[in-house]
Symmetry: D3
Subunit: 127 residues, 6 copies
C-alpha cells in the first residue's frame, strides 16, 4: 500500500511537535501534504524541516531569490507538487508574473544549452 | 576497486563467444570498451548484446534513424561515451554534419520546451 | 496563483499576432495549451514560436524524423504533454504504430545503456 | 568524427558576424568554446546567441539572479562546462563565495525534496 | 492516437503466450497495464519480459533488495507508475514501512549530494 | 574562480571540528574531497555530515543495502565521483563483483522501463 498522510490528530507527540514548529514558523493552521507524508518517517520529517528552515532563511541570498532557485530546480526535475508549492511561496514573497516569466525563460534556455554542450561534447575553455 | 575491462585473451569461453558474435556482426577486430566492461557480468553482456542487436536492426525505422534517436537520448542524459560511439555509428551510416546539427537543434529545443511545460504546468489539451 | 491560459479574445494584439501566425502555419482554428500558457510572457511566446518553426521545418532531416527525435527526448524527460502532442504530430506526418514501437524500444535501450556506462564508469575508446 | 571548434580565421562571414556581435556585447577578444562548436551549425549559432542575449538581459529579474538560476539548472543537469562558465559570469556580476554556497545548498535541498515528493507520491494540496 | 492497452481476448497468439507466462510466473489472473501497453509491440513485450525475469530473480542480491533498487531509480526518474507497482512488489516481499522510509531518506540524500558534487565540481579523490 | 578544497591546516576551527568527527567516525587520516569542497560553506558541511551520518547508519536497512541504493541513484544521475566513492564504501561493507553486476543490471532495467512507461503513457493500474 502507498504511504498515507498523517493528520495532526493521529500523529505521535514527536510528529506533533514538528507540525507545531512548522505552523508557528509559517503562521498557518495546518501543515501541507509534504509534511503529512514525510511524517511516516519521523526522523526524516524532523531532519528535512530543520534543514529546509536553515537553508531557506535569508542570508547572502534573500528569501525570494532562494524560492526562484527552488522553482528552477523543480521545473528541471518535473516535480509538479514542488513547482506549485514554491510558486505560491515565491508569490507571497513578491514574485510578479513578469518575474515568473523571466525565470521560466532562463530555465528553458539553460536546459537547452546544457544539452547542446553535452551533444557537441564541448570542452571547458582553457583560461 | 572499480570494474576493469576484460580483454579477449583473459575472457571465459562464454564471454569470448559473445565477443566473437559482436566482432563478426560488425566486421571489427576487437570489441569496444562498452562490451569489455559489461563482460564483468556475462549474463548482462549476453542479454545486452542480443537486445541491442534486435533493437537496432532496420525495421519500420532504418538504422540511421535509430542511431539519431540513440544520440538524442544520450545527449539528454549526458552520456559522453554513448554520444561518441553512436555519433561514430551514425556517421558510418550516412549522417552528415548538417544532419547532426539539426539533430542537436531539435534535442536542444525539446529539452527547453519540456521544461517550459513543466514549469508552467501546462495541462494536456482536450481534444 | 498558477499561470492561466490566455484565450484569443483576451489576448493583447502582440499575442494575437503570434496566435494568427501559428494558426495559419498549421491550418488550425485555435492554438493549443502550450501557446496559451506561454502567452503569459509574450517575449517567450514569440521567441519560442519562431525558434520552433525554424528548427522543425524540413532540412537535412525530414519533418517526421524530427518529430521522432522530439518524442525520444520527451519520453526521456517524462513530459507527458510533449509526448502526447508530438505523437499526434508524428502520426499526422506518417508515423505508424510499428514505427512508434521501434522508437520506444530504442529510447528504452538507450536509457538503459546510458546508465550502464555511468555505473561501470566506462572510459571513451582510444581510436 | 566529433565536431571541432571553428576559429574566427576559418569561419564563414555569417559566423564571423555573430562572433563579432558576441565579442562586442561582452567586451572580449575571442568567443569561448560554446560558440566555436555551435558554429558548425550557423543557424543554431545565430538563434542561440540572439535567444540568450534576449533572455539574459536585465528585466524583471536582474542579471545576477539570472546567472544564479542558470547555475542551479546546470548543477541539476550535471553540465560541467555550463557550471564553470556561468559561475564565472555570476562572479563577474557580484556573486560572492557566500552566495554561491547558499545557492548550492538550495539546489541540493530542492533536488532532495523533489525526489522525496516523487517517492512518497505526494498529491498537490487542495486549497 | 495514443497507444491503447491490449486485453487478453484481443491479443494475438504470440502476445497471449507471453501473458500466460507472466500470469503463471506471478500467480495472477491478469497482467497489469505495463504489459498490456507493451503488447502493442510484441517483440518489445517478449524481450522486456524475459529480461525482467532474468534480472529480478534472486541471485547475488535477493529479490527484496532488487525491488528497493528499482524503487530508488524510479523515484529519481519520477516514474509514478513504476514507484507504485514496485512498491507493491517490495511490500509483498517483506518491505516494511520503516524500510520504505529509510529507502526514501537514502534516495533523497543521494540526489542532494549528487548535485552538490556537480555544482562544486568536486574531482575524484586520488588514492 | 571555481571553489577550491580546504585542507585541514587551512581550515577554521568549526570546519576542523567536523573534519575530526568524520575522521573519527570512519577511522581515516584525512577526509576526502567531498568534505574539503563543502567546507567552503561550513553550515552546509556540518548539516550534510550530520544528515549523512543519520541516514546511512544501519536501521531497518543494513549499511550495505543503503550503499547499493546510493550507487543506484548516482548511476542514474551520472555522478562519477559519487559512484566511485560509494562503490568503494560498498566494497568495504561486503559488496562482491557479482552483487555489483546485478545492481547494475537492475539499475539499467529500471531506467529502461521507466522511460517505456513514460513513452507509452501507461496509466496506474486500478486495483
Amino acid at each position: 500500500m502507498s504511504p498515507q498522510p498523517i493528520e495532526y490528530d493521529d500523529a505521535s507527540s514527536d510528529v506533533r511537535a514538528i507540525y507545531d514548529e512548522i505552523k508557528q514558523a509559517r503562521g498557518i493552521n495546518d501543515v501541507n501534504n509534504f509534511w503529512k507524508y514525510l511524517a511516516n518517517d519521523p526522523v526524516t520529517l524532523r531532519r528535512t524541516w530543520h534543514s529546509l528552515k536553515e537553508i531557506m532563511e535569508p542570508g547572502a541570498l534573500d528569501s525570494l531569490t532562494k524560492e526562484l532557485i527552488y522553482i528552477a530546480v523543480s521545473a528541471t526535475n518535473n516535480c509538479a507538487y514542488c513547482i506549485r508549492s514554491h510558486t505560491a511561496s515565491a508569490s507571497s514573497k513578491g514574485m510578479t508574473d513578469a518575474m515568473f516569466g523571466e525565470l521560466m525563460s532562463v530555465v528553458g534556455m539553460a536546459n537547452e544549452t546544457n544539452k547542446l554542450v553535452h551533444g557537441y561534447q564541448i570542452p571547458i575553455d582553457s583560461v
